[in-house]
């Protein structure tokens, strides 16, 4: 009979409509910004630079090797090497970036910089609310705005951060053959380089 199919469809919409009052499953609206979706650990937005300890300049893991700059598909990273050296996470004397800029108005969040980084220095952030009124001043992130602490990294990607820390600790162990030696000595005697990738 003509019209039965239409009626069947209308019954279905009615079921969905009234069902949304009783069934959680049908009520999917997320009341953003009052509530946010549960944080997904793997989630990624833009890169940031990890530092250890409390001072972002001292603890910066990046050694300015410029691999990420080269591999970045949309070419949105700009690094300038420092003239002098400072000890890195493992304790070896390394360069550090005098300038490290990421143009997030170009970044495609592809995570390739994270994959190629041999020093676990660059990781993906989860913050996505970065809308701006000025494209040039607000969306070109410099070294200071990019630096986030290792604790923050642990907070957003706990599993990944724990395994990175374990790797770094192992590398430090390897770099400092005398475990009894004081930390400062370990820094100076650190010989073999490179954290585990």
């Amino acid at each position: 009979m003509l019209g039965v199919g239409v009626l069947k469809g209308l019954v279905e919409t009615a079921r969905n409509f009234f069902g949304s009052y009783v069934s959680e499953e049908r009520l999917t609206t997320l009341q953003y910004p009052e509530e946010t979706s549960p944080r997904i650990e793997a989630s990624r937005s833009f890169p940031f630079l990890v530092y250890d300890g409390s001072d972002w300049q001292q603890g910066m893991r990046c050694v300015s090797c410029q691999i990420c700059e080269k591999e970045c598909p949309p070419k949105c990273i700009f690094i300038e090497k420092s003239p002098d050296k400072k000890p890195d996470a493992v304790g070896k004397m390394q360069f550090y970036p005098a300038k490290f800029d990421i143009d997030i108005s170009v970044c495609m969040s592809c995570q390739i910089c994270v994959e190629v980084c041999p020093f676990d220095a660059i990781k993906m952030d989860v913050d996505y609310n970065l809308s701006a009124t000025n494209r040039f001043s607000d969306l070109l992130l410099d070294k200071e705005r990019l630096s986030k602490s290792n604790e923050y990294y642990h907070e957003i990607h706990p599993t990944e951060a724990a395994s990175v820390d374990a790797d770094l600790a192992a590398a430090r162990e390897k770099a400092a053959p005398k475990p009894a030696a004081p930390a400062t000595a370990a820094v100076q005697t650190a010989g073999t380089g490179g954290a585990a990738s």
Binding site: G3, A42, I67, E71, I112
Partner: protein, 386 residues
Amino acid sequence: MSTFSAPAMELTPKPSYAADGAQLLEVSMGPQHPSTHGVFRMDVALDGETVVKLKPIFGYLHRNHEKLGEDQSYIASMPYTDRLDYFCSMTNNWAYALAVEKLAGIVVPERAEYLRVITAELTRLQNHTSLVGFLMQDMGASGTPLMYAFREREKILDLFESLSGARMMCNYMRFGGCRVDLPKGWQQQAQSVVDAYPKFLDEFEALLTSNEILMARTQGVGALSSELAIAAGITGPMLRASGVNYDLRKVDAYGIYDRFQFRVPLGDHGDVYDRCMVRLLEMRESLEILKQALRDLPEGPIQDPKTKVRNFKPKPGEAYGRIEAPKGELGFYLISDGSANPYRFRVRPPSLINLTILEDLCLGRNIADVVIILGSVDIVMGEVDR
């Protein structure tokens, strides 16, 4: 309030005439048109309401994928493939990875093959679901079916996000495997989505498939014969709706598709209704594949250890790799000259080639039918124009 001088129309209407002397109306549909799925444009000549000429015009989203692919390393092209057919980043990744693996002779570990099948079939599910929703939108069922479709799509996107980190642009596969392993609890979550999906499909079909208005609008509209479909190189659900049994998952059996039991739904008439139904049935088969793959998923490595992300330089030569993407045959043709960048990076876009016969399908139909015929072809402009 400001006053405007009326901007000049891009095409000044020129009178043209039909054979019997009647004046034809030339309409430029697009590139900004609510039903053209992006920035597609058609120059349509109408006699009354009947289409007498239809010329598709492309290029409004020509983003130079092929040129960019030649200018950067092999791995750097992987995130760009996500943006070809932006509904189906997983299958795009797979097609590109497959072509590179053919070029360089890389073996993929078994677990990675299973992960690829699982993600690709989930992609097919969400692509077909939203396509049917969009098709209904084009037909005038504005809102409701698309809303239901996107409600289900979000569940699959959640799966993609917890696996790869991004909702749409997954950038998940690598040459010789996948980037990350499944996080904890992912398999159960995927299983529950797969288990709940048939219920949604039942609902969707109850809503749509017996609806008289829908049948009147779609049955017999835009019928494509199997001969024309083969000659014009149509692939994917559109070809199978015309009754040609050609599914690369069966023909090439790339990856590990020969291990799964599934059927290939075929249509009889090749009209809009058949195309829609073939997609609905294909989703059921995808669920079958997903069930088997999630059941049989082995343990093991997910990445070929010999293939590195950096400094990847395949030997000179060329390879054409193709897979059955949700929209049709997606192929990548790569020429290597031994350097770190491909010498030629070519994408064989199913959407573009499926549009070859758009004019043949639309001639003699009403202008309102053009919209749903285009909708049933299932195009994504990112892939059509690249």
